[in-house]
């Protein structure tokens, strides 16, 4: 069925590398796209090219957007003194979808792990520290995973901020990371409202 340099096969192979897709579902998706060439395939290719040209990390918070400073960081209204620290952009987007948090974010881009060679400088922690004064932050909410690495990172940050700003963490037992996607808004709201002072 396939020659190696067949563009359809090449597309299937690339699609199969996407999270949540395997070779079989990639094949089905590609077939579907070809059948919907005008309605889906062409606009998708254009949208992908546009994102490839413009996507970049926000220099301030680490969110992914299409400008050097993302919309959340640009918005005056969101500079309400609350700063939510998350591991990954996916966490930020999940929080945003629920619409309950009206402050700003700081994306670390991972968790501290000496074994994986990830130290404070790999994690945008120095940038976090400098944002506290620059943006007049009054409370930092640590929304990190309940894993050892996540909690170590939370502790590391709290240790350096405790005299400078109020600190809290999301209510225990709330799974975040990819799983935040599956939580309904009510649960995220409850976790935020029940946040614990550290």
């Amino acid at each position: 069925m396939s020659r190696r340099n067949d563009p359809i096969e090449a597309l299937i192979e690339l699609m199969a590398r996407l999270p949540g897709l395997g070779p079989r579902s990639a094949r089905r998706a590609v077939l579907y796209l070809i059948r919907k060439r005008a309605a889906l395939l062409v606009p998708l290719a254009a949208a992908m090219q546009a994102v490839a040209d413009s996507a970049r990390p926000c220099l301030n918070c680490g969110n992914v957007g299409t400008s050097d400073i993302c919309e959340i960081c640009q918005s005056e209204a969101r500079g309400n003194g609350l700063l939510c620290v998350v591991e990954d952009v996916a966490d930020l987007w999940a929080m945003e979808r629920s619409g309950v948090f009206r402050g700003r974010y700081h994306v670390l881009g991972g968790t501290l792990s000496a074994l994986d060679g990830v130290g404070p400088d790999e994690l945008r922690i120095p940038q976090l520290l400098s944002r506290i004064e620059a943006e007049g932050v009054s409370e930092v909410i640590l929304a990190l995973n309940a894993t050892v690495d996540g909690q170590t990172t939370a502790h590391y940050i709290a240790d350096q901020l405790e005299d400078r700003v109020a600190l809290s963490s999301l209510a225990q037992g709330v799974p975040i990371g990819g799983e935040l996607d599956y939580l309904d808004d009510g649960t995220i709201t409850a976790a935020l409202n029940a946040r614990k002072r550290l």
Partner: protein, 368 residues
């Protein structure tokens, strides 16, 4: 609790086994090398960990095919009936399924409790502390299913800290963050172990048994174990410079050892006779099982590999009586049926034979 069904597919020397079982003890007999221990190793997978040989999943795949293996079973206990399955394909780690859904080892620990005694443990009292610590933690895990997660968390935080020590990192905040994690899980780990020893002591005191009581105590290879989370955190912080020199963490529950004394004689377990040492271990397993039966309303599954052979006829009869009184599904192995004569109809018998590299299991409960 007991297994009411067990199937093995391409597990070690077994190609295909399907057993229907009742709650009685299971006596397994057959010549050396036929596959008896392999059979109870499969049962040992029903509690968290790597099983009684602590083997990798790929070593459990039947040779020479080495394709993968599958073990399934039906467990009946205080929480009802559960279908549990383990699969390993192409040398990969084994996947756990509970009632048809992928599950974690931790979830497994809440359903199934299994205790074992195998010949490799005969030298437990005289060999290194690591083996005793593992025994202690298995006992503790049987009482507290959260113990496994605490142990993993502690281990992980300690390995992170050891890496900082080796690389001579000087960031005090980083050490403090890891030491806080170690103190939290480490103090809970230690408290669980202490509580488990207390249960064992009480279970031994309350019972009339033919097996000698053991006094158990936790000892540190050096200094004393800090009792509270705060104490442990401070101890870790104080030890930091020494630890940097050593390149590893010198204080904490990973340096705890289990010290046992043959109570009636006042002699350390390590200085008791070979037979006595075995009897002390059996005594602890039985006490553990009695305590658990009280806790969760059902005795655990026991795996006693080649226990019968090392006991004289009197002790053997006493062991069988205690197992039956407990109502435990104890899986016992031995080379011949005569070793289980005293059990009579109180047990289900399985005979294991071997034919051109393939184990065969036959007996009352085996499906055709």
């Amino acid at each position: 609790m007991y297994l009411s069904r067990l199937t093995l597919s391409h597990f070690r020397s077994h190609k295909r086994v399907a057993l229907a079982l009742d709650a009685r003890p299971v006596a397994i007999f057959g010549p050396n090398g036929t596959g008896k221990t392999n059979l109870i190793e499969a049962v040992s997978l029903f509690s968290p960990g790597r099983g009684l040989r602590r083997a990798a999943a790929q070593d459990m795949a039947r040779r020479p095919e080495s394709l993968g293996w599958k073990v399934t079973g039906e467990i009946r206990g205080a929480t009802g009936l559960h279908e549990i399955g383990f699969v390993s394909e192409g040398g990969s780690a084994r996947q756990v399924e509970i009632d048809g859904k992928p599950a974690s080892q931790i979830a497994l620990g809440r359903l199934a409790r299994t205790l074992w005694l195998i010949p490799a443990m005969d030298r437990l009292w005289i060999e290194g502390a690591e083996g005793r610590r593992r025994f202690l933690d298995r006992t503790t895990l049987s009482f507290f299913p959260d113990h496994a997660q605490l142990a993993l968390d502690y281990e992980k935080a300690m390995r992170e800290r050891n890496r900082l020590l080796k690389e001579q990192v000087r960031d005090g905040h980083w050490y403090r963050a890891l030491e806080a994690q170690m103190a939290r899980s480490g103090a809970a780990l230690n408290a669980n172990r202490q509580a488990a020893l207390l249960r064992l002591a009480r279970a031994q005191a309350d019972a009339t048994t033919a097996f000698p009581a053991v006094e158990l105590e936790l000892v540190q290879s050096e200094g004393a174990m800090p009792e509270t989370e705060t104490d442990l955190r401070h101890a870790l912080e104080e030890s930091r410079f020494r630890d940097i020199a050593a390149g590893r963490t010198l204080v904490g529950p990973h340096r705890t050892d289990l010290y046992g004394v043959f109570a009636a004689k006042g002699v350390p377990a390590a200085e008791s006779s070979t037979g006595e040492q075995k009897a002390l271990l059996l005594s602890l397993i039985l006490a553990n099982a009695r305590a658990l039966a009280g806790d969760i309303g059902a005795p655990p599954i026991l795996l006693l590999d080649e226990v019968a052979a090392h006991l004289d006829a009197g002790r053997r009869a006493a062991l069988y009586d205690e197992i039956c009184a407990l109502g435990a599904q104890a899986w016992l192995t031995g080379t011949g049926p005569e070793l289980f004569a005293e059990l009579g109809a109180r047990a289900q018998m399985l005979e294991v034979t071997e034919e051109s590299g393939e184990s065969r299991v036959s007996g009352a409960g085996s499906a055709p």
